[in-house]
């Protein structure tokens, strides 16, 4: 057992253990806290599986933004005593789960161990793709429609969550002194870190999504510190949320009408196109996630 495989086994056991604790804890608070720990452990697992981009995204989105959203629900009303699932339902559920897991374990043993066609294809075509980092090239060039639609999913999730907020958004109540002091330091740090991740995206792990999550964190801190602009419910904020999708569609239509075809990025200006779209996308994702957070935190404010 080389030291590397010891770490892998402990990590695999840790992930499963934390996942089990996250779903088995009866109280809502315990489940959310264990889920945040799962975010940390998953980030380490992704690092171990040679996926630094995903470790970044997990740290930024999994435990960061999703963590903030989930934690915000805990500060709302005290956990209601949940009704327990019926005894027979639990037994049936566990049996079905065990059978499904056994079947899946047999199925995954048949997975061939040689790599798929795509890594070679990506390596071959990456030189003119507008980004040296393979994952960014796939996201912004080879499979750019996926990224466009995924930004759209966030836009319409923000629109849907926003539509649920009936009470007009007011600035939060007086903010304790330390939070404003911290915000003054944390805000620029988060924005700088986000910008660094955005620019790094073309040549090394990073990119629009991780940067967007950092900007969302910055906006959330600004909102908590009482900044009016961060309430991100006005028309300007909504314009920013959709800016990413509109920029991408504009690029697509432009390349269709003037260029060689939909979303065909000419190697000459591919790099510039990728960077501009990523920048607009990052800010758009940041404002979109912040909008979802504000819609959530406002939706729970009972109009006194």
């Amino acid at each position: 057992m080389s030291p590397a495989s010891v770490l892998d086994v402990v990590l695999a056991a840790a992930v499963l253990a934390v996942a089990l604790v996250a779903v088995l804890l009866p109280s809502r608070r315990g489940a959310v806290s264990a889920f945040l720990v799962l975010g940390v452990v998953l980030a380490v697992l992704w690092a171990r599986l040679d996926a630094p981009d995903i470790a970044l995204a997990e740290a930024a989105l999994g435990s960061g933004v999703a963590g903030a959203l989930l934690m915000d629900t805990l500060t709302a009303d005290p956990a209601r005593p949940g009704r327990r699932a019926g005894r027979t339902a639990v037994v049936v559920g566990l049996l079905a789960g065990a059978v499904a897991l056994a079947a899946l374990t047999v199925v995954v043993r048949a997975v061939p161990d040689e790599p798929s066609l795509l890594p070679a294809a990506v390596a071959e075509e990456i030189h003119g793709a507008g980004a040296d980092h393979a994952v960014t090239a796939v996201l912004l060039n080879f499979r750019s429609l996926d990224t466009l639609l995924e930004a759209a999913v966030l836009v319409f999730a923000a629109a849907g969550a926003g539509a649920l907020v009936r009470t007009p958004v007011r600035a939060p109540d007086p903010v304790p002194a330390p939070v404003t002091a911290l915000a003054r330091v944390l805000l620029p740090a988060l924005v700088l870190l986000g910008t660094w991740l955005l620019l790094a995206g073309t040549s090394r792990p990073g990119g629009a999504f991780q940067a967007g999550a950092m900007f969302a964190g910055a906006l959330v801190v600004a909102f908590v510190a009482g900044a009016r602009f961060a309430a991100s419910q006005g028309t300007a904020a909504r314009a920013w949320t959709v800016a990413g999708v509109l920029a991408f569609v504009a690029l697509a239509a432009g390349t269709a009408m003037l260029g060689q075809g939909w979303l065909v990025l000419d190697p000459r200006w591919a790099g510039a196109a990728v960077l501009t779209v990523e920048t607009v996308l990052a800010v758009s994702i940041g404002v979109g996630l912040a909008q979802v957070f504000v819609a959530n935190s406002e939706a729970r404010r009972v109009p006194s």
Binding site: A103, L104, V106, V107, A110, V111, P112, P115, S116, L117, L118, A121, V122, E125, N141, F142, R143, S144, L145, D146, L148, L149, E150, A152, V153, V155, F156, A157, A159, G160, A161, G162, A163, L164, T235, R238, A239, T241, V242, V245, L246, V249, A252, A253, A256, Q260, G261, W262, L263, V264, L265
Partner: protein, 493 residues
């Protein structure tokens, strides 16, 4: 030309939805204007693309996005099946857009427009995408749009919306695992490219089973249907029409594309799963029909009718299994049924919306005498019911005829029995609705009940227009069936 327009079908309404989201909520009229212009432009683009598909040599229009062919890039391909679905989506889409533009609360307020346009774009994407993961992302966009629209409904619509979101996301996760298994074996994400690179074995069987269960949950196939009769009635009227007529079909299309591409390579396992789908479909037909008979509220009857019709559509998989002529009939019958059901169901839910708006509730007792005040709307309900039951001159009849022919051709009598039983049950609950609606007000009442609330005439006319479209299209059914049939799948080996 139509190749140039194909991606515009997806990106156009998406951009319009984004623009509508920016327009402030108070300016509902501007959002409605954006919605209507998009509806018109989309109808035009659909006409061009459908024309392109009809005239193109292989009856298909194909675009490799970003200039990359598979396995690297994503391909959008519109074939005859996509054309049929585009026709349906355009008709229902324009009808719903007009209805909400005329009467704001039919859509649940100004937030309707951005979500509806985004949903419309995603539906177009699902019909034409050839890439597995792209289908997953599009299905998530459909789910987010549809759930948010359900949550716009008045009263306690957040609960049903959340339940729908949970079921849809669980279905998507199972489908994502199926994609991972196919990708593990085939090494590519393009459906047609993967078809040649998979072999019978545990991986492909698990992928087919996971997709059947995952998409079954998303389209409310029998054992996994309980969320639909709760969610659809809770939504605003126009949203219920969109949900039953179009959103349910998105998961169905992905299931059919996945099955047509990968099931022939799966050998015996695909037969077993097809029979399972058939059994679930038959159970859905019987259960949905019986439950619809027992409901006392119009919208719930129409929702259970959707559960029944989804049962029919699940029968297409076993009917296609033997291959040859039966597969061609089953495939074209299935697609005609999708279009027929879409038109009829949209007409029914929009009519139910008009009656609910006029009489304040959709309980059958409160709708007594609606025939006298709203003859057009009741006529729409009648025609739609006839089409759902699959009785002549309607498109439903042409579709059911094809399915029956496929069943007889392949000697699978039990599915034929289920089809006929379903037809009877549909006649049953349509009769219940018509009898309740046309029953004269109780003799005991002296003064006629207060005249129903005013409903814009346009909103009252839209359901009838859709129902009549179901009849008119039956004339073209022959041509559409021929166009669809020759691109039919070869059966399971």
């Amino acid at each position: 030309m139509s190749a140039l327009l194909l991606p515009a079908l997806v990106l156009g309404p998406l951009a319009a939805g984004a623009v509508a989201a920016v327009v402030p909520r108070e300016r509902g009229r501007v959002r409605a204007a954006v919605g209507l212009t998009t509806a018109a432009l989309t109808a035009l683009a659909c006409a061009v693309v459908v024309g392109g598909v009809a005239t193109a040599p292989g009856h298909e229009v194909r675009v490799a996005l970003a200039g990359w062919e598979p396995p690297l890039g994503i391909v959008l391909r519109a074939d005859a099946a996509s054309a049929a679905l585009l026709v349906l989506t355009t008709l229902v889409g324009v009808a719903v857009s007009v209805t909400v533009a005329v009467r704001d609360d039919a859509g649940g307020g100004p937030a309707f427009w951005p979500l509806w346009l985004g949903l419309w774009a995603a539906l177009h994407g699902v019909y034409v995408t050839q890439d597995l993961f792209n289908a997953y992302v599009l299905l998530e966009l459909v789910t987010v749009g549809a759930v948010s629209l359900v949550a716009l409904g008045k009263g306690r619509s957040a609960g049903p919306a959340l339940r729908y979101l949970f079921v849809a996301v669980v279905g998507s996760l199972l489908f994502l695992l199926a994609i991972a298994l196919v990708y593990a074996e085939a090494g590519t994400l393009d459906m047609s490219a993967a078809a040649g690179r998979v072999a019978p074995g545990p991986l492909l069987t698990a992928a087919l089973a996971l997709t059947l269960v995952g998409m079954g949950a998303k389209m409310a196939l029998f054992p996994l249907h309980s969320w639909l009769p709760v969610a659809h009635p809770a939504a605003p009227a126009a949203v219920s029409a969109v949900l039953s007529a179009l959103v349910v079909k998105a998961a169905l299309v992905v299931l059919w594309r996945f099955w047509v591409a990968l099931a022939p390579a799966a050998g015996g396992a695909a037969h077993v799963l097809a029979v399972a789908s058939g059994v679930a479909g038959s159970a859905a037909v019987l259960w949905g029909g019986l439950m619809a008979l027992r409901q006392r509220r119009l919208k719930r009857i129409v929702a259970y009718s959707t559960v029944t019709q989804v049962g029919y559509l699940a029968l297409v998989l076993p009917l296609m299994a033997p291959g040859g002529e039966a597969a061609r009939a089953a495939w074209s019958g299935g697609l005609l049924l999708v279009v027929a059901h879409g038109l009829a169901k949209a007409a029914m839910f929009l009519a139910a919306g008009v009656l609910t708006a006029a009489y304040g509730s959709d309980h059958l007792e409160d709708l007594r005498g609606a025939m006298r005040h709203r003859p057009w709307v009741v006529a729409a309900l009648g025609v739609a019911g006839v089409s759902l039951a699959g009785l002549p001159p309607t498109l439903g009849f042409a579709a059911k005829w094809q399915l029956l022919a496929a069943g007889v051709e392949s000697g699978q009598w039990w599915w034929v029995a289920a089809l006929l039983a379903g037809g009877l049950l549909t006649v049953g609950y349509t009769a219940v609705v018509l009898r309740a609606v046309s029953a004269p007000a109780d003799a005991g009442e002296q003064a006629p009940e207060p005249p129903p609330a005013a409903v814009p005439t346009v909103q009252a006319a839209v359901p009838l227009a859709l129902a009549v479209a179901a009849v008119v299209l039956s004339v073209l059914a022959g041509g559409l069936a021929g166009l669809v049939a020759d691109t039919a799948p070869r059966g399971l080996a």
